[in-house]
Structure formats: structure tokens, C-alpha cells
């Protein structure tokens, strides 16, 4: 990979209300309307527009750098959402590459913008520019209404007509799972080529036999594992790697699947469990969430947790501990 050119230098005059420079844990941002009064906000947006233009220029530089191996450059006017930069540059587009992890499967181009600073997620105006490219904030970002262009966000498609029908829902969820399977990335060929194929093949055959035997035993009437243990194992698997496995299964940011809430729960639980400063009670609550929520079959509604479950003991803790 060619060396990456240095990032454009920051402007000498610090923009008003510019987000803090990066830190490991950005401090909570004050309310946007307090921090950025209208006049100052305008300044900041002009600055942002300029910075984005420069940042996009920077994107061209790194795109040049990685284009030879990971992405294909497409020349043309650079536009990022509402921000028509007026520059001719590059759109990032994936192509087949020497690295198997990066091979194939990418047909969607993406535009990118490096923002000047950190913690922009906490700024209402920035969120509005991302939310609605024809909005007031976007105009301010550009400093010119005429520079705006439609980005085709008005595509409206009908939602799934599934509400209220459990059997249809299950069918849809199964279909979605099938879609996931079909959309799964191809085998990591580079690794496969180097790994001792026969060893993998033998292991696969042996393991498949184990699974088949297990299925036969189940059908023959052996009992299932208890629900708690199944849930715990599912939760352990889901929490591996900070919950990324479930996030992947949920289609990253995909709403609409019954695993989506579980993925959100997992992400929150994994974040808490990874925090060394989290209190014991908070960690245990995260564990309960992981255990109760990740395995869809045992996902307990919140509204039923307010004393609605039938209890056979007057004091759970007193009776068992």
C-alpha cells in the first residue's frame, strides 16, 4: 500500500463551538443550542463545509493509496449528502482484491467525509445534516442553497405487511435468516489455500457425524438440555468478541428482525461487561439481559417483569442463598 499523505492542516483560527479534539472518552457534550448559538453555528458550519471539502480531498488521497488493492476509484464530482464539494475526486468502491477477506461481494459505492474533530454525533446540526440533506442545517453547511442537490432520499417503499400475525412473522424471520445465509461472505480463500485441507475436511466430516447422531438421539426421545443452560450457552456465544456475532446475525443495523432487539441488548450488555469500572450490580444486570434476551425463545417482556411472574417462594434470595 502506498504511503498515506498527511491530513490537511487544521485552520489557524479555531472554529467556534468546534467539537473537542479526540480523546479516549469524549466528555458529554453540552446541549447543542447552548453551545452553538445561531451566529456561532453559522461560523462553525462554514468551517465544517470547508473542512469537509478538505477532508474529502483527504479521502481522495487515501483512496489513491488503497485503491490498488481494496477499492476502485471512480472519478467525478465529490458529493457527500448535502455537501456538494465542487471538487473532482474519488468515490470508494470495493473490488476483488488480493486479500480474500476483501474479495467480491461489494457492489455499492460509498461516499465518505472526514469531519474535523471528534464527537460530532453529539451535535444536533450535524445529525440534521445527515438526517435530512435538504434541511436548514445542510444549507448552512454549504453556505449556499444553490449548492444543494437531491440525493434521492425520497425513495419510499412499503413496509412489510406482517403486523400482528405471528405465523407470518415466523415465516418472515425464517426467510430473513435464509437471506443471511445466502448473503454470507464467501470462504476466506487465502486462508483455505494455506490450511491443511485434509485436516479440515476430516474434522468437518467427523463433526457432521456428531451433529447427525445428536439429531437422531433427540428424535428418539432423549431430553433436551435445560432451557437455562441453552440460554447461557447462546449468550456466551453471542457475547464473544463484544457481541459482534449477534450484530452480524442481525444484519448490522438492520431493523425488523426478531434478533434486532437481542443485538441491541447484546451490544449494550457487552459494552457494560467490558467496562472495568462498572459496578457489580450493573454487570449482573447486563448478564441477566444477555441471558434473558439474547436467546429469542427466552426473551422476557419488560412489562411482565414488574412483579407479574408467579412466584412460589416469599423470598427468592432467602430461600436459595
Amino acid at each position: 500500500m502506498a504511503p498515506i499523505e498527511p491530513r490537511p492542516t487544521a485552520p489557524s483560527s479555531a472554529p467556534t463551538a468546534r467539537p473537542a479534539q479526540p480523546s479516549a472518552a469524549p466528555p458529554p457534550a453540552p446541549r447543542a443550542d447552548v453551545l452553538a448559538p445561531p451566529a456561532a453555528r453559522s461560523d462553525r458550519w462554514e468551517q465544517l463545509g470547508n473542512e469537509v471539502a478538505r477532508g474529502t480531498n483527504g479521502v481522495r488521497q487515501f483512496s489513491d493509496a488503497v485503491g490498488a488493492t481494496q477499492v476502485r476509484r471512480t472519478q467525478g464530482p465529490i458529493r457527500f449528502g448535502p455537501l456538494e464539494t465542487g471538487l473532482t475526486g474519488t468515490t470508494v468502491e470495493g473490488v476483488n482484491t488480493r486479500s480474500a477477506r476483501w474479495a467480491g461481494g461489494v457492489s455499492t459505492a460509498a461516499s465518505v467525509a472526514q469531519l474535523p474533530g471528534a464527537a460530532y454525533l453529539s451535535f444536533r446540526d450535524v445529525r440534521d445534516a445527515f438526517r435530512n440533506p435538504s434541511g436548514e442545517s445542510a444549507n448552512r453547511a454549504l453556505g449556499s442553497v444553490s449548492g444543494l442537490a437531491s440525493t434521492g432520499l425520497n425513495v419510499a417503499k412499503g413496509g412489510l405487511d406482517l403486523a400482528g400475525n405471528v405465523s407470518n412473522f415466523r415465516a418472515a424471520a425464517n426467510a430473513a435468516r435464509t437471506a443471511f445465509t445466502q448473503a454470507a461472505p464467501e470462504a476466506t480463500g487465502a486462508v483455505a489455500n494455506r490450511v491443511a485441507t485434509s485436516a479440515a475436511s476430516e474434522a468437518a466430516q467427523g463433526s457432521s457425524r456428531q451433529v447427525t447422531r445428536h439429531a437422531a438421539a433427540r428424535a428418539a426421545g432423549e431430553g433436551l438440555e435445560d432451557a437455562g443452560r441453552l440460554g447461557a450457552n447462546a449468550a456466551r456465544t453471542a457475547l464473544q468478541g463484544g457481541g459482534t456475532a449477534v450484530a452480524r446475525a442481525a444484519g448490522r443495523f438492520a431493523p425488523g428482525l426478531n434478533v434486532a432487539i437481542a443485538a441491541a441488548d447484546t451490544a449494550a450488555a457487552a459494552s457494560t461487561l467490558a467496562d472495568p469500572n462498572a459496578a457489580v450490580g450493573k454487570k449482573v444486570t447486563a448478564g441477566v439481559t444477555a441471558l434473558g434476551s439474547i436467546a429469542a425463545a427466552t426473551n422476557i417482556p419488560v412489562v411482565s417483569q414488574a412483579g407479574a411472574v408467579v412466584s412460589t417462594v416469599s423470598s427468592f434470595v432467602g430461600a436459595f442463598f
Binding site: 479534539q21 476483501w102 453529539s122 445529525r127 491443511a196 457432521s208 431493523p255 448478564g287 425463545a297 408467579v310
Partner: protein, 362 residues
Amino acid sequence: MTSQNDPKGGGARSLAELHALGIMKRMPASLSLGSTEPVSLPTVQAPSLEGLTVAVVAPGPIDEQSLVERFDSLRRQHADRRERLAGEAVGPDDEVLLDVLGFADGRLIPYSARENWRAEVAPDALLPGFFEALVGAKVGQSFGIELKLPDTYVVESLRGVTARFLLDVKAASELKLLEDDSPELLKRLGLGTLTDVMAHLGDTLARERTEEMDRLTQERVLDEVVSRTKVTLTPALVDEEIRRRWAETERPMLIRKDFQPNELQEALEGWLREPLTRADTERRLTLALALRAIAARDHVKLAKGAVDALVADLAGLSGVSRQDLIRAMKEDTLLAKRVEDLALHFATIDSVMRRVSLTPPT
């Protein structure tokens, strides 16, 4: 439908309390979040479990590709890592720590908000372009990605839609992977030869497949329980369950990102309007009510062994000792109640599963 009584034992509320409740009821749903008032739950008759017969779910196949992918994951896990400096560019195959918000159709995409999300910078067929675009982003700074979701995207309503993601790249690590068959990698794995490693991974996958098979079979059984349960859920109850789930899961992060009241409401409405979220919520509510009725009818009791196992699993998942966990439950009655609810939920599912006839996979 019956309503639960005043949880405080029927005592009269103070004028101030009633005033506060009146204000809360006029607030947008996204803001009335302190409310954990018991809600009206419909009563249901325990569904019959007579003749409950379900086909075992066929196990997923194990092939070379599965093994190689798992091996690749282990190889990454044992790679040498270098934390990238602030301002340094993210590289392909890095591990990154992200905060993310996603927008489409002028709204926050439900479930798109992520905080401290650890991800690999590698193409993902489910979100093409996203990770490719992340290469070159500066560590410690905010970043934007705009892409058109593919026509094959898993969520139908988002297919072909332009989505924008606003990210904070909080950290990144460059990975230096060891060769697949290097002695150093095998030493780090500690599982013997490459053949031994594959055999181990095969066993692991086999165990996971059977557990998944059991879990899916269990889900199939619970689907049948749901279908046998006669209950009408009001839209308001479904809304309330979704609202509380959202308030527990997504709202705290949005508050930390200084979301304004109308943005919070927009985020909540994203969940409320999402058809499969509603369908899933209805299913979970119906199942919970059915299991509660079954537990009452069949006198399901907690067994000490099962509770001990649950506590051991919880301690392991939470990374705390058993003693600390028990102490936390003693100090926090709400936490103890949640653990008890979970234990009862599992015990009732076990009770149902013992009544099921399983047939071979179809």
C-alpha cells in the same frame, strides 16, 4: 382484561404525586421514561399442552468453510496488535471501536445507534460499502459514510435507500496476523498440531450446532404454545413494551449524544412503527402470559440445582464471583426479582419441554 392494583398496597397518592403523574401523561412517550408503573396485562387461560408434537430442527451443516472461518477468527484473536495513534488512518482488517448513528429517509434508522461497538474492518455482504469506506478514517475523529443500500438488503423497506452513517472512530488496532501454519501461531493456540486444532474446532462447531438445534427446536415448541394461547393484546400494551425496551436499550446512548426531545421521539417512533418489532413484541408478550399461566396451573417450582446453575452461569457471563452476585441481589431487590423471574421463566420452559413429543427432522 384486568388491571393490577396499586403496587403500593392501595394507599392514596399524594397531591404532588398525582400532579407529577398528570404531567407525565401529557409528555411525549419518549420522555415519560421514569415510568415503571405496572401495566394492565390481560389474563389468559393456560394453553393445553395435550398432543404437543414438534419436529426437531435439522442441524446446520459443518463444512470446511465453517472450519476455516473459525480458524481465521482464532488467528485474528491471537494476532499481534498495535494501537493506532490519534489521527492515524484506519487500515483494512483493523479492529475498530465505533460510535455510530445511521439515518435513512430523513430519520434515525431503528437499531442503528451503537456505542463502543467493536468491529472488524472487513467487507460485510450485509452492509456493502460500509467497512470499505471506513479505511482511511482518522482515529479519534468523526467520520461520515453515505451509501445506497443494495436491492438485496435484508430489510425490504430499506432496499435501494440512501443511508448515511455518522461515526466516531474512537480507537483502532492494526493486526499483524501470523501465518496459518507458523509454529508461533500453533504455540499461541495451545491446541497441538494444525490437525489437532481443526479437530478441536470441529468439536466446538458440532457442540454449537447441536445447541443451536436444541434452541431452535425449543423455539418451535414455544411457537406452538403461542399459537394455542387465546389472548388479545392492545396496541397500547405493545407500545408500552416497546417503549420500555427502547428506554432500556437505545435511549441512554441517545441521551449521552445530547439528542433533543423531538429526536428522541423520532427514535422511539422508529421502533414503534417497525412491523417486525411489533410482531416480535406481541409474540413475546403472548408467550410470557402463557408461560405464567402454565406455571400457575402446573405448580412449577424452582429447584435449588437449577437456581445454582443459573447463578453460576450469570456469574460467569457477568464476570463477577458467585459471592458478589449473591451480595448484589441481597442489596438490590429489583435485581433479585429479575433473576428470580428469569429462573421461573426457564423452569416453566423446561416443564413445557418435558411434555413435548419430538419427531425426526422434516
